[in-house]
Amino acid sequence: MAAGLKTRKKQRLLVVSIGLTSLIGATLLVLFALGGDSLSLFLQPSEIKARGIEQGKHFRLGGLVESGSFFKEDDGLTYHFIVTDCAASQDVQFKGLLPDLFREGQGVVTEGALNANGVFVASTVLAKHDENYAPPGTLPKSEEQCVHPEAAASTYGTASYLVSG
């Protein structure tokens, strides 16, 4: 009761048991939450096919915006482009304002899901604002190595690339 605990041992027991309870609670919470929708796979185009991702499953797509693939619908708001890792390509559709750093030939990370036609409908296109501009997850992993200058740009050359526009 509120009368208090008489011994140090009991008090210690109490604190430890409260701590343990919350720890177990937190573990359950983590397991429960990590099992749900909050986890998203980070995939490159070739992995989408390899893993057989079904439509509607939320995931992140990383890769390069294929040069020449970009166009805008007449509504002025819906964009289409192709994300590639050189081994495979994926059509992407996005409605909204594209981030500042978006351009063809550069890395992007997009978040969304495949629709019935196999087009990746992105809800967000992520901008990078670091000093080297190359999102690590966007680098091609395939053996064919289409290492693209802008994609794997490094500290020493990146800013220079940008000067080149």
């Binding site: 009761m1 509120a2 009368a3 208090g4 605990l5 140090r8 008090q11 109490l14 604190v15 409260i18 701590g19 919350s22 720890l23 609670g25 937190a26 919470l29 983590v30 939450a33 990590l34 749900g36 929708d37 909050s38 986890l39 998203s40 796979l41 980070f42 995939l43 992995e47 992140r60 805008k72 007449d74 509504d75 002025g76 708001l77 409605k95 909204g96 304002l97 594209l98 981030p99 500042d100 750093l101 990370v109 967000t124 992520l126 901008a127 990078k128 604002h129 670091d130 000093e131 080297n132 999102p135 690590p136 997850g137 490094s154 500290t155 800013a159 220079s160 940008l162 000067v163 526009g165």
Partner: protein, 658 residues
């Protein structure tokens, strides 16, 4: 020339740190006063030399000395003055130098304000601080020297990432670093206490103001960063649960827990070994943040340039500092015998509850942040843990904390009476329930979480008020209430204001998340649209030229009914060095919320894609953070809590025995 002076000064910092780390520690063991006194002197030398190095780099940036490679890589002659200066810490090397400068600054402050600390204890604290300086300076000199030369010097620099050319971001890193590094003082105090084998209430009195100071800066740094994201990234978001954001949030949670547990040590001489552990954990989280940002092992939108060599160095340094202190803790913790006892219902218990929830939350954030690493290590591919996980954890873990927070300050130390406390906060409970239910009723269901969040915010705000009211006996004898108001100490005001700040933040988060009105559309000049009762009329665009950019500026007239409200002028800028676009959102804060406009690109036929928002009560986020900072500063200005000047309730805090 400046480059060489800087380089030379930095080497001196290293030498002074090496001396300051070793000799005073030997002195403390042997009882040699002269060796122990070296700690103060080396601390001053380190600070002055670090200041000289930092000044030298700043000078090189100011005069655009491109023979210094760091300047060439991050600056440009056409850059405005403010960003030439902020360019100093806008890159990996310079930011580390700033880190070292702040580290030595805090050591100097400890030496200066802590003149009343027992010499042996002060010597130990400062020598730990010197050890940290030594680690960081060798890291700079070996892997990230900002003073390396380019020969021949290029004629022009590369320029700073335009997104970073922003007042919010110019001050965000220094603020954040003051917080991160400020926690090093609590860490050094904890290590010194472990070495001495004793934690006393007086120790907690020394630690608390330093933690509070670091916490204020950390709060400010996080708030600035989130404010920057809100208006600069142009999508109206303010927190993304990105690894780097989490890296600043975890030390904040740990520091908040530490602030509260140190109170228990100070007042009741209990929770000692836990508090020491928390002090170590809080600073470890700061170091971990640095590591995560610079090693590149986690994908983040903020990451600095990645370099495996640097990563390995930082990892080794972290292993020594964190691993070493945890080992020291494992060895010495049994010496921390608690003496105070307390009942289940007591202020102490409330603070224990606070600590359990805050540290559990910090642990959950840590797991969520590092989980992708575990998954990748197990070979299951790359994943990201998204905001839903963290939001869920925040809701589950922070709600009981907020409920307890309303009651805690009303409980007495040692043994409190729950019914009595409940009696005081009963009105708060009623008001909160009414607010929540009213919302559900007015929105006709489907907003349970919003109603819950609103209820929590109202509960906390009213409970804080009820606590003050009961303190001044507002209801029992209103006549003298205002007289009693003056008797409330600054520390108590600080607590109430900071707690109310949390309530205001919850209010801002809940309302802005639930009731944001957003429109994404293409507009031609003359078009108008309604956003949350405000008419936005697009008047067209015009080109503008800035010092190192050109921009397209959109013109929007906002009216409410027939009344003119404001003109919004969002810009889409193209910077010249390096060439890059940035979005400058136009924001007009009203009392009820922010009007927010972003101009996109030309959509053909003189039409432009635009994004318009009404974000209700979003300003409450920054206002709440500001209240927390003010609360912290008020508490810090309380005479009882002055930095390092305890009024010595127990004179012999640290036994002068070997």
């Amino acid at each position: 020339m400046a480059g060489e002076i800087g380089h030379f000064s930095l080497i001196w910092v290293l030498v002074a740190a090496a001396i300051g780390a070793v000799l005073p520690q030997i002195g403390a063991v042997k009882g040699d006063t002269r060796l122990m006194q070296l700690a103060d002197r080396t601390a001053y030398v380190q600070f002055l030399m670090a200041l000289a190095a930092f000044a030298a780099l700043t000078y090189a940036f100011l005069v655009s000395d491109f023979s210094v490679s760091n300047v060439a890589a991050n600056s440009h002659t056409l850059k405005p003055l403010l960003y030439k200066i902020s360019g100093v810490w806008g890159n990996h090397e310079g930011s580390l130098l700033l880190w070292v400068l702040i580290l030595t600054l805090f050591a100097t402050l400890v030496s200066w304000r802590g003149a009343k600390l027992p010499l042996r204890f002060r010597a130990r604290v400062l020598s730990v601080q010197s050890l940290l300086v030594f680690g960081f300076v060798s890291f700079i000199l070996l892997t990230s020297n900002p003073f390396l030369r380019f020969d021949p010097a290029p004629f022009e620099g590369n320029g700073l990432n335009p997104l970073l050319q922003d007042p919010g971001l110019a001050f965000h890193p220094p603020m954040l670093y003051l917080g991160y590094v400020g926690l090093s003082v609590s860490f050094s105090f904890a290590i010194a206490a472990l070495l001495e084998g004793e934690v006393t209430p007086l120790w907690a009195r020394w630690v608390r103001p330093w933690t509070l100071l670091a916490w204020v800066f950390l709060t400010g740094g996080i708030a600035l960063g989130s404010w920057w994201a809100y208006y600069e990234l142009g999508w109206g978001g303010w927190w993304f649960w990105d690894p780097v954001e989490n890296a600043s949030f975890m030390p904040w949670l740990a520091a908040t827990a530490l602030l509260h547990s140190a109170i228990v040590v100070e007042k009741r001489d209990a929770l000692k070994s836990w508090t020491v552990l928390l002090a170590i954990i809080a600073f470890s989280f700061s170091l971990l943040g640095t590591f995560l940002v610079r090693s590149g092992i986690l994908t983040s939108v903020h990451a600095f340039a990645v370099d495996p060599e640097r990563g390995v160095f930082i990892l080794a340094f972290l292993a020594i500092v964190i691993g070493g202190s945890m080992a020291l803790y494992a060895w010495r913790a049994p010496k921390m015998v608690p003496s105070g006892l307390f009942g289940i219902v007591s202020r102490e218990s409330a603070l224990v509850v606070n600590n359990i929830f805050l540290s559990t939350f910090a642990a959950v954030v840590l797991i969520g942040t590092l989980y992708p690493l575990f998954v990748e290590a197990s070979g299951a591919g790359q994943i990201t843990v998204g905001p839903p996980f963290f939001e869920y954890a925040a809701a589950v873990l922070m709600s009981p904390l907020v409920v307890a927070l309303g009651i805690g300050p009303l409980l007495a130390w040692k043994r409190g009476k729950l019914p009595k406390a409940m009696q005081i906060v009963l009105p708060a409970l009623v008001v909160a329930l009414i607010a929540g239910l009213a919302l559900v009723w007015s929105q006709s269901g489907g907003v349970v979480m919003t109603a819950f969040g609103l209820g929590l915010a109202v509960w906390l705000l009213t409970a804080v008020f009820a606590e003050i009211a009961s303190r001044i006996k507002l209801w029992q004898s209103p006549g003298n209430a205002f007289g009693r108001l003056r008797k409330i100490t600054r520390a108590q005001w600080g607590m109430s204001i900071a707690h109310a700040g949390l309530a205001v933040i919850i209010l801002g988060v809940t309302v802005s998340e639930a009731f944001t009105d957003e429109q994404l559309l293409v507009m031609a000049p003359g078009d108008s649209t309604m956003v949350a009762g405000h008419t936005f009329t697009f008047d067209g665009v015009a080109p503008v030229a800035g010092p190192n950019y050109s921009a397209v500026r959109g013109f929007f007239t906002v009216a409410e009914g027939d009344d003119f409200v404001t003109t919004l002028l969002p810009e889409d800028r193209v910077y010249s060095n390096p060439v890059m676009n940035t979005t400058e959102a136009a924001i007009y804060p009203l009392f009820t919320g922010d009007l927010y406009a972003v101009i996109g690109e030309a959509a053909g036929g003189n039409r432009w894609s635009v994004r318009l928002y009404f974000k209700p009560m979003i300003s409450a986020l920054w206002a709440g953070a500001l209240m927390m900072m003010i609360g912290g500063l008020l508490s810090l200005s309380d005479r009882r809590l002055r930095l390092g000047l305890p009024t010595g309730r127990k004179k012999i805090a640290v036994k002068e025995s070997v």
